[in-house]
Each structure stands twice: as structure tokens, then as C-alpha cells.
Subunit: 438 residues, 2 copies
């Protein structure tokens, strides 16, 4: 199957583990049998591969997530990069054009679109395959997944099917209702709209050319910023009459808040933590390398990362967003395509960070206008290139770089270094990239 | 007045702000009018100076606290260093011998002994002066302070005075009782024993020579390890018949647990913190440089330092000790006589720390057998001496030191540096000191 995973924006509702550059789908929170942890995006990717080892997976996302996706899913995954955010319709058109024009997929093939972060079992992905196959049959232009509601939720839109068959025509769509209205919808046999649907590629390309003036993927990518933001539901789904829904009654959870997320944790703590026997319904997620001791707490989430620390009543944690918006914390940790970095110390005119490069990876070849840098290699082997001069480096090596000099480091093994940045105007934007002169 | 402040051992009950090397009296927790904070020992020192600007203050303490005391009180304070812990009687004898033999104080002068960490107002120290003057009069050999009880506490010993006068002879001492017994003591007019007393120096020296075989301060210091640990109450006070008590009815608090300590905090938070409007009776002490967000908590203390994070119900926080005993965390922060250091990053074969030297101070001249070191000066000016070679250094300077080389740095202004330690067996014990060859 062809599957497009929509990887959404910066979530602050899982602060401090999510932030402006790390979305919730990249937090490693689900324990594997070997004791390691995987993120939501890794879990979904693994589940799809288990159900359909030949699935062609494309992640539709913004530039800011590309590094994290490569870091977590490897270099094999297809990525349709949105130059900027223009809501779901342009994003789906861009991904479809990418499949057609870049990957050369037959336009008669089906495509399934799905958010990157549902907490589900594998039967969900088996159902996605069915959705794609149903779309290829051509009985309808769009085939939606309808999730059987477990309670009258105000958080989701509803799909009213014409009948109670597994596959039914869609009668109508309903916006997020209040609880009373939700109850009446459910009495009518309504299903939750989880944002999952399938179509034949040729259908979507036709719709795209109707609504957007473009020739091919390259052209669309180039003019992406000029497009009007519009949702897929509004632009297409609500206006389409040849539309079916397939009902899904398996596990499906939306882990969008600390409260729902911790319900799916197998243990009370990830990371270093001690909970005394008077703690009840307490969950700790600790990404700081220091212990957290909890005593006598009830219904509390404690979450700590280099960005900050949250201590919240579980119900209250749903109201986190305005408080996090007020916190003005610089980015303290980031995953990059080549590894990761963490800020260790901040002074007025210096910044000390720890850089971890994965084996075989390297930074961009770059320079800074307003800062000198010092690298101290603390583990691993690699090569530096400074102003064109290559040098083999290993643990203990010290490299000093004046402002303006071009530099990079290539890791032959996993390589860790302490970088001290020195200057009056230290900024992540003070960076100029160059092609590597090799 | 001559005052000896007993500065006690490593408290784990205020973890993570106190630890094996930082006792609770050094935590900066009390807000000054200028917005800065002072520690318990700084507060007491300042209060004594306000009441008696000529007071001769001596801190009796262990070697491990000397750096922190000089850092917080300056170099002017007298320190009687106990080579090891031998309980209060040997400690008081050592401090008294120090006053007599090192400082040359007239043996007819009074000495007041007082713990370093009572939370009191200045009337308390005015009373200490009265205690010393009363001891000099010679009506009694020992003059105790008796604190008027505010509730029947199980935590304190009691003094039963002969009558209710301000100054009375002591009838008898009582060990820490249960609540019922405490009530009967209080009905008899009993006072709390806060461990405060005064004596004429000649009296204590006489007692000391009766019980310990020594000639003078130097001799006592040299044989200190061979002494039998014994408390002052048991060795002297309970056997003394010429003993008076002066009653004190002013403010007096023992801030030994998070629960009692936070009651004396003027604000709900020290350090970066946001508390939402649903928080009630929540206190945050944050020594990490990252924000803490609290939501919907009741009666909770959150305390964070480079050593770890405590999140506890306030009542439960009294039972912290056994849990902290189980946490095996290396020292992550320490005050030294020359400034402070903080651990930034720990790897198997490297350790990165940030060192802050106060202006005019320097480290010991020292070497390490098993590690190389790299210094990157991130602010300030000073001079390094490496294997006898002096060099002026300033922001941006990088100094590399091989294992075995002798080195130090002298700060001309406040000076901050990042130190990367590299080696297979990094240990604080791998240090050899040398006299400076200047």
C-alpha cells in the first residue's frame, strides 16, 4: 500500500518533552521488549511494516521535522517536505504529486492518508490496507475510516453513515459537537472522524488541478508559499458525493495530553525515579540525567527535560498550553539528522553544548560570523575539516575555530564532543553553509 | 561577646538542596531587601553583627564545611576545624581551646555556644549577649537558654527551672518525651532545650582537663581522632549543679524539614517557577536554570538542584531520609573557598564541569595522575600556572594539561571556565597538591 503519514506541528501540550522543534510524535515513551523505548512515529512505522512489509511510506511534514524523522526512521523513509504550513489540502496534494512525479507511482494506485500519531494495534493498519484496496476499486472517490465511538466526545468530528454495514455510503459530516448533540449523533449510528481516508491517486491529482494552478511536483513545491491554507475536509471531503466510510471498532487512542498519554504507559516511570509507597496514580517521565523522588502524591504527572519541569495534577495538565506559551526558554535539546545536541551551560557571551554525532554522519560544512568555537572530543573517532584542511581526531583532541572559518566534523564511530561557543551575539541563525570541498 | 556557632553535619532531610557536602545551613533561601538571597548561616552571622558589631564569632565545624563558610561569610570569620566528628563535648572543648590558645582571649571572658541554624529574630541574639554576661558574673558555671514551648513537642529535650523568674536555677533536665509527658512538663513550667548555653572560658578549660588528657589547642587538635565521642549535655550539663536557665519567649523555629522550612519562605517560589491558579500551599525551590511549571497541586514542595528533583506532599517530606540514602548520585555542585563548580556532563571516560572562581582567588596548585584536562575560559581575566609557567588568560583562552602536569588558575576578576576532564579513571581523589613555586 501507499501510505502518507501526516506529521503535524509543534505540540506544546506535552511540554517539556515536546516543544517548538520536537513534536510529541518523537518522544520515546513506549517500552519495547528489549527494554529500549520507541516514539509514536517509530511505533506506527514498525506496525505498518509488520502488517505490510512492502508498504511505501511517505511522511508529509515541515522542514523542521526532517532531521528528527531521519534520525528516528532512518534514511529509507520517503519525506514530502512542506516548505511552510498551508493546512491539510495543500499538504496532501503535495504528497500525492511527490508520489506521482518523484516516485513514479501508477496514478491508478490507491493512497491512504493517516495522522502519524494514533495509539492503535496492528488491526488498524490492516484496516488501512483495506481502505486503500477499496479506493482502488473505484466504487467511490473517497473512502473514509469511521471509528466506533466509545463515549460522546466533544473532541472529534462525526461521520453519519447511510447504514450500519461495514462499508456504507456517507450520509453527512458533523462538526465537533457538544456532549448532548454527540449523544444524539451516536444514537443515529455516527462514527468518529479520525482523519483517515483513501483515494485513487488520479482522483486527487484531478481535484488538485481543479483547485490549484500548477504543472507538477517541482512547480507546486516552488509556489507552495503562495497557496491559500485550506483543510482537506472543507476543500474536498464535504463536497464529494461519491464517498464511503468503513467502520473500525478496534483499539484507537489519541494521546494528545499528559493525562491520556500516561494512561498508555506500561510503567509508572521512564528515566531515573523513585516513588514512595504513598504515591497513587503518579507517572514520571525523566529525560534529565538526575534522580526524581516523589513522595505522597496522587494523580500527578512529573515530566522533566532539559527544557523544563512540569509537575501537574493529571486533569489540570490538559490546560497547559497558555502557561507554556508564556515560558520563554531557548531550545535546550534537539535531534538532528546527524545525531543530537544538548545545551549544557548558558552565559551572556558563551554557550556550551554537547554534540553527539552518529557513526558515518557529519554536520554541514559551515561558518559563523560572530563567534569562535572550541571543540573537545570526549569520545569516538572522526575527521575534522577546518578551512579545507582535513585532520583525524579522537578522544581528547581540541580544535579551536575562529569566527569566519569553515568547519565540520565527520564521525567514523559515534562521536561526542563538548562545543564551547564564544562571542557577543551567539545565535542559531548565525550560520552559513558551504558545499564540502573534497 | 564570644560566640561559638556549632555548624552540624550533612543533612539529607533537605535533599536535593542539601547533600553530603552541602549542609542545610548553606542553602540560600531567605530573601533580602535587595532581592538577593542569604543562607541560614549568613542570616545568623548578619543578625549577630547587627546586635553586637564587635562580637567575636567562631564557627566550630568539620573540614568539609570550611570552603563553604569562607565562601559565604568571608575570610574574616574564625573557624575551629574538627579533624573528625566526636560529638559536642570534644567540639566545644576544641573551640574553647582555640579561643584561648590561638586567639588569646582572657579566660575570664564568657563564651556563648549556639547552633548555626535557628530561625529567629534579633532579640534572640540580644539574649545570647545577656547569657554571656550572666556567665561572666560567676553566679553559675553554666547559663542555659530555655525556650518557652509553643506546643508539647516530642522533638526537644526539656529544662525544668526551679521557678518562673527570668533567671532561675535549673531543677532538672528531661529527655525528649512523648506528647502526653511533654504536656505534664509544660504544666510544670518546663522550657525547651535549644542547645544554647554560656560559660566562663576558665570553667570549660578546667572541665576539659579533668576529662581529656591534653596540654593545649595544638595537642588537642593532634589527638582529636583518639577522643571518645560524648555529648556536652551528658559529659557536663547534666552533672553540673551550679547551673542557671534564662527564659526566652521570642521567635524561635527549627527549620529542619521541607515542611517547616517552606513555612518561613516569604514567597511561593525561589528560582524560575510558574504556579497556576489551582495550586494551593505549593512551594518551589529551583536551583536548576530551567523553568518549573506547577498545575493543580495542593500542599506540595518541589525542590530541584543539579543533584536531583524532589516532588513531595509536605507532610510526607519529613520521611525523606531513607529514600535519599538509596539514591546514589555523585556530587553535582559544590561551593569551594575560591568559588564553586557544577558538573555539566558525565560520560564513561570524561567529565565536563563549569568552574567559577571569585575575583582574587585561586585553586590549589595541583596535578592529576589519571586524567588530562582542558580549560576554556568563558568569562573574566586571570593567570594560569602550568608546570611553573605563568600565562595571562582571558575569555576564549584554551589551556590543555596532560596528566601529571601541575596547574592552577588565579582569578583577577570573577572568572568562569569550562573544564573537560579526560581519562579512564576520573575521581575527585586523584589529586596531588603542591606549594606554589613563585
Amino acid at each position: 500500500m501507499n501510505i502518507v503519514l501526516l506529521s503535524g506541528g509543534s505540540g506544546k501540550r506535552l511540554w517539556p518533552l515536546s516543544n517548538d522543534i520536537r513534536s510529541k510524535q518523537f518522544i520515546k515513551i513506549f517500552k519495547l521488549e528489549d527494554g529500549r523505548y520507541e516514539s509514536m512515529v517509530q511505533r506506527v512505522y514498525r506496525q505498518i511494516r509488520n502488517v505490510d512489509s512492502g508498504a511505501r511510506i511517505t511522511v508529509a511534514t515541515s522542514k523542521t521535522q526532517v532531521s528528527a524523522i531521519h534520525n528516528q526512521l532512518g534514511d529509507g523513509v520517503g519525506i514530502s517536505v512542506e516548505p511552510c504550513r498551508r493546512d491539510t489540502f495543500p499538504a496532501i496534494v503535495l504528497a500525492t504529486a511527490y508520489l506521482h512525479d518523484v516516485q513514479g507511482i501508477d496514478p491508478e494506485e490507491g493512497v491512504v492518508v493517516c495522522p502519524v500519531d494514533p495509539y492503535v494495534d496492528e488491526s488498524y493498519f490492516a484496516m488501512l490496507k483495506t481502505l486503500g484496496q477499496q479506493a482502488e476499486k473505484g466504487e467511490a472517490n473517497l473512502v473514509l475510516m469511521g471509528i466506533e465511538p466509545t463515549y460522546p466526545s466533544e473532541k472529534y468530528g462525526y461521520i453519519i453513515p447511510e447504514n450500519k454495514d461495514i462499508i456504507s455510503k456517507v450520509s453527512t459530516f458533523k462538526e465537533k459537537p457538544d456532549i448532548k448533540t454527540a449523544e444524539t449523533y451516536i444514537a443515529q449510528g455516527a462514527l468518529w472522524n479520525g482523519g483517515v481516508f483513501a483515494y485513487k491517486m488520479s482522483y486527487m491529482l484531478e481535484k488538485a488541478h481543479e483547485l490549484i494552478d500548477f504543472t507538477d511536483y517541482q512547480d507546486l513545491f516552488a509556489k507552495y508559499e503562495t497557496l491559500t491554507p485550506i483543510s482537506f475536509d472543507y476543500a474536498v471531503a464535504e463536497k464529494e458525493s461519491r464517498i464511503q466510510v468503513i467502520r473500525y471498532g478496534g483499539q484507537w487512542k489519541d494521546l494528545g495530553t499528559w493525562n491520556t498519554l500516561t494512561e498508555s504507559m506500561e510503567e509508572s516511570a521512564i528515566g531515573e525515579a523513585v516513588l514512595n509507597e504513598k504515591c497513587e496514580n503518579v507517572h514520571v517521565l525523566n529525560e534529565l540525567g538526575i534522580p526524581i523522588l516523589c513522595m505522597g502524591l496522587h494523580d500527578v504527572i512529573v515530566s522533566a527535560s532539559p527544557e523544563g519541569i512540569l509537575v501537574s495534577d493529571k486533569i489540570q495538565s490538559s490546560y497547559i498550553k497558555p502557561f507554556v506559551d508564556k515560558i520563554d526558554q531557548q531550545i535546550m535539546f534537539a535531534e538532528k539528522s546527524w545525531g543530537s545536541f544538548r545545551v549544557l551551560d548558558v552565559e551572556d557571551e558563551s554557550l556550551t553544548i554537547k554534540v553527539t554525532l552518529n557513526a558515518g554522519h557529519s554536520m554541514n560544512y559551515h561558518s559563523h560570523k560572530n563567534r569562535d568555537e572550541v571543540w573537545v572530543v570526549v569520545s569516538g573517532r572522526g575527521r575534522t575539516i577546518v578551512d579545507g584542511m582535513e585532520q583525524v581526531v579522537h578522544t581528547g583532541e581540541v580544535i579551536t575555530m575562529q569566527a569566519g572559518c569553515r568547519h565540520t566534523i565527520l564521525a567514523d564511530t559515534e562521536l561526542k564532543l563538548i562545543e564551547v561557543q564564544l562571542g557577543k551575539e551567539i545565535s542559531v541563525h548565525d550560520k552559513r553553509k558551504y558545499p564540502l570541498e573534497q
